[in-house]
Symmetry: D2
Subunit: 354 residues, 4 copies
């Protein structure tokens, strides 16, 4: 048995949709967005949302929080010892911050949270990582911190450099509550006319559907901090097109749609508390990735971290477009019927579809 | 603003790892597995797991359950009316099964579950869909069923063809409990020697790490039906390489590692209750996809559904290899240190890494 | 160290509120409801809800499902063996049903669900238990079934008579999705006038508050199949007053409020999928309990199980009254302020309050 | 329809078990514990755990964190405005702390966490509340803070004094992650001999059962931050006996058992991150409550908050005793069989049991 040497490529169809008009406090621009996907109806659907929100004056979007985490896992002999460690570490936050700053150019420790389960010690380090998504940076920094702690408390035992309290690429509540990635909110207000003309629906219909399907439906599905129709589709499309680690759509898809009718207008928002994205690092060196990032204005000369923040705002805005468009379609049984009939015709004509 | 016309491609690096030896009741074969990923360390890591399990005699894997779902959402005037609908539908399961069988060649209704929330009616239809993952097939069949129900109960109102009780590409408990996709379990037994030689670890270390990190760590992270280290990475790699809808890694990553020491051996298993994959349909017509599926023996002449089942078994086995290898590495702080040092050297030499 | 012998009593203040008017298909009556609680404001608050719904014509309430569960946990040598067990058990459902019917007067096996995690076998038996809540009945029946299975599959090993897939007195998704206890829905329609006169609020305000607090607020709290303000308070009050095992408020509190404005009226519903209650058995022999059950008409000569069903319907209706009343109060900041001032005055006058 | 005036009492059987030997850093004492319950087998079972841990040298228990919360819910016109509010409030933490300190003798604001969902603003205030559990104290303080904020930001709208991000008496992840109530850990080490003599089991059996049932079983049940067998039973018993608001067992039951074999000994721990209890306030004025609290040494002259902390440590230790004893019984099928036979005999003799 020998290691397979030849490297090949998987090719995913990619198109650009938009432009999406974004009018937040951090960015104010019109940006076209690439989506790499096997689900080709995603392109016209997301594009429709872009058009509707463009005509409505644009999407307000901004970042509420920004951090990347890694939790190490240690073990002590007793809860007494574990508790002493906890107290001591909380008193030496600044020393650990200094340590991280010394050993890295871009990684900065900004906070830590500790949980004890019996004598197990889970320490969740929270960092900023500049324009990188930061997976490796936080592992490296956590490794230094781990060494430092083990030297300081020689009676503790190493269990794991990652204790799943991070938590990476797995559903959780902790990421939404303590933060992991960029916490982005995007919102738009559409008139009754915009809803009818561009989305063939009404504000009331969208709001009612969101309550019944996204809120109540997700609750009975036993979902967790998730209330949306298909954030995952748009996230996957952009993540692949921009060289992100697409396994992070798992956290990123744990987001919420909140909509209401305000003075006959539709207020529509998407909240994504866990968008882990970067503009440098792994996957960002491919030509098509750089071209895509460049087209979105995410490779400019800016203060550290600003390109990645811009990218996150654009992604959340695209998610809003895709979500709004699908919900609008779902309010309209005729529209779905029609697209189904098309599918069926294709099937009858021998084009296999799943 | 005009629709962007030119279609491009995103290219994801892809390599084949293995062969993985699988010795279940449904399949007994050695298969090499393609992984498309920006995270290149995934290749040697998963390959190491393949080698270790190969030498140990192979992975036992099989499918426990197999279904695809779509939940429609209707509304009635009162709980009284909603309850009558529920009773009536449960009495007419066979009529609905017949309806689906008439309108589709491969889709079969096998069960349904109904939940009422006030006067809202969530009906979760469960189907088999042959060798397709079945997203569109179940939507189409649900659409027919929806028409049939609305004709039968004209006082009900349509809310949505999808009510999030399905649930597609979103974290949930319902998919694991009632089933969505293929429920696959894969397991292997390794001797102490195999653990040492191929994974530089011991059965005891792997078992302890799994309990502390994957079980306890996931619980305190507020995870949901999830206890693993990085199922998502391997799933994403194979999903992209085989033309799957990779947004379904969200459900698929909700799986559990269970390990124990048995007579000094390591018993190691992965349970994936929600693997939504197919060998025909969307994304399966690309040359590299067909080549990959063919190499894995998933395009053979077989009974309907058998190719997709084989693919699911292979994927779960690859997940086992990747998970086992990472857990082994995590038990060994020195090993991680070393790989970090490599990363750092690369950084100092100007190769940026995130 | 010797066993402490003297038995004492804890005394909880108890008052009757109502009558609550219930107009479901299963029962149509006016019933006063006892609440035992240290939180004395619960009495006037729930009473207010009773009065408002009484004047509005009454509460429609009924039972959707009814079962009690226990999951046993076994272990096999491999997933192959575990899978064979699963197949075999599913084929012998009727034999197991017969076994249960032979060994008990009231316990009946109605379904079973099996989950495999590696070679672990979780078998969730689902029973009806007549008028008892059934904790002991299902344990006893599961014990017989366990013996029967171990005799049939001598290679399996016993792990536990309860494997937490039941699950008793612990938060879960499984109880809501597969059912445990009585699944009760109660709803009411109030005019704008009723809302104003009896609840000092409007339909619009109640609906908006429910969406923002109970639905969205619970989602961001990382709640699970739970969207209400204080089901637990009313449940605890009635459980203690009627001799129930009050630890079951944990499952019972996992319920959902759904409300909407319909033709200017308020449609308000509570859905409680997990109400585990009985009218016979442990705790039901105390004089005050029997008196309370009798006053509610739950000790009549009826078909087996009907008294317990009636009790469940009454409880859900009381939960509706308590929830509606609190939500109404919350829509009205002035009302809360006033009650706070009262609290403060009491505090200043030396009556300590927490 | 008139308000029912006569107040009655519900009487719950109560016995004292123990003494429990506690040897933490905060307290070092032997304490007998009252349990009010209809489930009379809880007494001998918990007592057995007390005896086993007493003989083993006692339980080490301490408090990791201590706070009580209330989240208010406000609304703004846009995410821009909501974000400005967030920034401003985070900058004025000290002003809010001062405000709370001025208006209350015992309530102190110690932290706050804000989440935005679209333009909704959830502000979770975290307080210390002395020896009270603090439900009303935090509501009152939050009300003052709410007034202060609305005066400062007149464009914001009041939604609710409680936004469910608190969250009170409802299952959640937020309470475990950000803290609500006292975070207590209790642990014990028993020799092989102690396990055999007092619990008729072995360290290995307890550890294996905890992994398979409490960890894996709870995960597949779709539980949330919960891994135990019956914390709720012991919690309910002590809460009723000490005048606590027993609806708070919902949060309190979300705790974790962690056990391992160490040098042939059993290391056994319970972690309860959400124990909301007090020694003054509502329900604490009843004679039997005061007597119980006094017997446990929780009405002494101590620094503010110390009596409530002592009570929390005692409760967690009792939970450990009850959990250990039940798990031990479950490892021993014969023991269960026997107790079942007793139940059956009682049934046959006409003593109805559920």
């Amino acid at each position: 048995m020998r290691w397979q040497t030849s490297e090949q490529i998987a090719t995913i169809p990619m198109r650009v949709v938009g432009p999406i008009k974004i009018i937040g406090t951090e960015m104010n621009d019109e940006v076209s967005v690439p989506l790499a996907t096997f689900e080709t109806p995603l392109w016209p659907s997301t594009h429709r949302g872009a058009k509707a929100t463009f005509e409505a004056g644009g999407i307000r979007a901004l970042i509420i929080d920004d951090r990347m985490t890694r939790s190490i896992l240690l073990e002590s002999h007793s809860i007494i010892e574990a508790h002493e460690t906890l107290i001591n570490l909380q008193q030496h936050k600044e020393a650990m911050m200094a340590l991280v700053a010394e050993t890295s150019r871009f990684t900065r420790l900004i906070d830590l949270h500790i949980q004890l389960v019996g004598s197990l010690i889970f320490i969740r380090f929270e960092f900023t990582t500049g324009d990188a998504s930061g997976h490796n940076m936080v592992t490296l920094a956590s490794d230094y911190l781990l060494q430092w702690i083990l030297k300081r408390f020689p009676e503790l035992k190493y269990v794991s450099i990652s204790g799943n309290f991070c938590t990476d690429k797995k559903v959780s509540a902790v990421n939404g509550i303590l933060g992991r990635g960029k916490y982005v909110v995007a919102e738009v207000t559409l008139t009754k006319q915009h809803c009818r003309r561009f989305l063939k629906t009404t504000p009331e219909k969208i709001v009612a559907l969101n309550i019944k399907k996204n809120l109540v439906g997700s609750i009975i599905a036993g979902s967790l901090r998730t209330a949306n129709a298909h954030f995952a589709n748009i996230l996957l499309g952009i993540f692949l097109a921009t060289g992100q680690d697409a396994a992070n759509i798992i956290e990123a898809s744990q987001g919420i749609v909140y909509a209401e009718v305000r003075d006959n207008h539709l207020y529509f928002s998407v909240t994504l508390p866990n968008l882990i994205v970067g503009t440098v690092g792994n996957g960002k060196t491919f030509d098509y990735v750089r071209e895509n990032l460049k087209r979105m204005g995410c490779l400019e000369e800016r203060a550290t971290g600003e390109n990645a923040r811009r990218l996150a705002i654009i992604i959340a805005s695209a998610v809003l477009c895709g979500e709004l468009s699908l919900l609008a379609a779902l309010t309209n049984p005729g529209e779905l019927m029609e697209s189904h009939m098309k599918l069926e015709r294709q099937k009858n004509e021998g084009k296999s579809r799943d």
